[in-house]
């Protein structure tokens, strides 16, 4: 009965459109009342769920990403990518992906990336005769690279949802190869589609021009070294690096590029505060929900259930991946990581899957969900800058979905893609 109350109330409220944080909180409240436990526990969890120093990285990385998008760091990186790779067949598509990869190394937000890179690239691509659908699909899929390359606040959300004991430095490192793999897979797909559609190439501007663009982009690109190097070598924590990213982005924007107005800055700050309050309030209420799941031993029940289907970790991972892909169609990434990690992580762990490896699988899987309607925020942004409907984008996105799924399969079934690099850095 208590299981029915916990999940029944949650699903009912979600269907009638109650904000997800309250769905989690109220269903926990109802279950605790039914069990006759003191309700204070729900509100204690709500409070301690957000009282974590690590969480502070989330608003900082969101804020930093937004500053970089508005402050000119992104546009300079795109110009550099354009000079470097524009002369390949369907060159602007390749430029789009390379720029996304570089920008993804300093921002963790796929929406910020779709807005920043798409906002500049999509109109250019349309003007040069590329189909709007192609431009939109390249943008929305390439934006997912930001989720895998460090910094990635979704990896932090995963670490916290997994009990806070999974190393964030390892998660950041583990995403590097899968992120680059996704970039390569998308470049190949974009090239093949571009050939078929007969898209043009750009003239190569010459090495001195490439050098000039590089010099201008360097202040932005330096952040890759600062964040990754700093976190990996233990000079500062992920939380501290996020703060440094904000300060650095502000510094470059205000002093080097001098490209941001006061009203843009205020807008950026308010946006970060709102997103943070919304996300962290969900994390808090999910802590209450998660406490009840532990108290009611739901993970154990899930492990037994999954174990009754198969005892092969490969089959279990396939099952979990399919479930996550389906859930990702309807729900947003952050809440899904928060809700499903406490359920799936103990299951896959009991089948011998490394928590760091599973984090990469989860982020990539749910990242693809950011591009699937009815709830696909990254796709919505890309379609909006391309001025086409979601349905027009959907018609030709399939080869790109295919590339994403292939990479997901490789990442799932070759653990070394995720685990080799962190092990290398740990020196064993």
């Amino acid at each position: 009965m208590e299981y029915f109350i916990l999940f029944g109330v949650f699903l009912t409220l979600m269907i009638i459109g109650t904000p997800i944080a309250f769905c989690l909180g109220i269903s926990s409240f109802a279950t605790v009342a039914y069990l006759g436990l003191p309700p204070v526990v729900v509100f204690q969890r709500l409070n301690s769920g957000v009282s974590l120093f690590t969480l502070m990285a989330i608003p900082f990385f969101i804020f930093a990403g937004d500053l970089m998008m508005r402050g000119g760091i992104a546009s300079r990186i795109i110009a550099f990518a354009g000079s470097l790779i524009g002369h390949v067949r369907g060159g602007l598509g390749q430029v789009n992906i390379l720029a996304s990869t570089l920008f993804g190394g300093i921002s963790g937000s796929a929406v910020a990336e779709a807005a920043a890179v798409g906002g500049i690239m999509v109109p250019q691509m349309k003007a040069r005769g590329y189909g709007a659908d192609y431009a939109v699909n390249v943008t929305s899929m390439a934006a997912l690279i930001a989720l895998l390359l460090p910094p990635s606040h979704n990896m932090i959300i995963y670490s916290i949802s997994g009990g806070g004991r999974i190393s964030i430095a390892d998660l950041f490192t583990a995403g590097v190869i899968p992120g680059l793999l996704l970039a390569v897979a998308l470049m190949i797909t974009a090239y093949v589609v571009a050939r078929k559609r007969g898209y043009p190439t750009e003239p190569f501007p010459g090495f001195s021009k490439v050098g000039q663009y590089l010099v201008v982009a360097v202040p932005g690109l330096m952040l890759i070294a600062i964040i990754f190097g700093g976190v990996r070598s233990g000079i500062f924590t992920a939380t501290e690096s996020s703060c440094i990213a904000v300060l650095y982005a502000l510094l470059v924007t205000l002093l080097v590029y001098r490209s941001m107005s006061w009203s843009e800055f205020v807008h950026s700050t308010l946006g970060a505060v709102k997103t943070t309050a919304m996300v962290l309030f969900i994390i808090g209420s999910a802590a209450a929900f998660g406490w009840l799941m532990a108290y009611l031993k739901i993970a154990t029940i899930m492990i037994d259930f999954m174990g009754s289907i198969s005892d092969d970790p490969l089959v279990i991972l396939l099952l979990v991946n399919v479930l996550l892909l389906v859930l990702g169609t309807f729900m947003d990434m952050g809440p899904l990581i928060i809700i499903t990690t406490p359920i799936f992580l103990p299951v896959v762990s009991s089948f011998g899957v490394d928590p760091v490896h599973f984090g990469v699988i989860m982020v990539l899987n749910l990242g693809i969900g950011l591009n699937t309607p009815p709830l696909g925020p990254v796709q919505f942004v890309a379609a909006a800058v391309g001025k086409i409907s979601i349905w027009e984008a959907m018609r030709s996105i399939w080869p790109f979905y295919g590339a994403g799924i292939v990479v997901l399969g490789l990442v799932t079934y070759i653990p070394a893609l995720s685990l080799w690099l962190p092990a290398l850095f740990r020196g064993n």
Partner: protein
């Protein structure tokens, strides 16, 4: 918050000693941000939800769904005030390590936030009952995290 964390890094590298209060202090500031922000979110309706039912039901159902949701939000917000206060009273005599403040302080943001949410819901309920068009479908603003 940025300042406090930046100060922590600065102290560690430049002064070579980490002040122990920065972490606790930054968490307390963040807690106020989150819970006050969550209350503002109730008023401005930027909390994320899924309007699955709205795809099948006529538009006239919207005020009803939002009204039911608001009743539940009110109950939870009231719980934040009541049980947050119970926690604050119970832990008045214990202290937060390092900061030296009563543990109760950590529960104040919940109480204040719950109280504001209750007020905002009452306001919206009153407007809705008086026929004002307060209900809209899910926010169109893009919210990915």
């Amino acid at each position: 918050m940025t300042a406090v964390v930046a100060f922590q890094v600065y102290m560690r590298f430049v002064v070579n000693s980490s002040p122990a209060w920065t972490e606790g202090g930054a968490i307390m500031i963040m807690s106020w941000f989150i819970f006050l922000g969550a209350a503002v979110g109730v008023r401005e309706k930027f909390h994320m939800g899924f309007d699955v039912l709205l795809y099948v039901l006529p538009d006239s159902a919207l005020p009803w769904l939002r009204g039911i949701s608001d009743v539940f939000i009110f109950i939870f917000a009231a719980g934040m005030v009541v049980y947050g206060s119970e926690l604050a009273i119970r832990f008045w005599s214990t202290t937060i390590p390092v900061l030296g403040l009563p543990t109760s302080f950590t529960y104040f943001p919940i109480i204040v936030s719950g109280g504001l949410m209750c007020l905002f819901i009452i306001e919206r309920m009153a407007l809705r009952l008086s026929g004002e068009p307060v209900d809209t479908a899910s926010p169109n603003e893009i919210t990915e995290v």
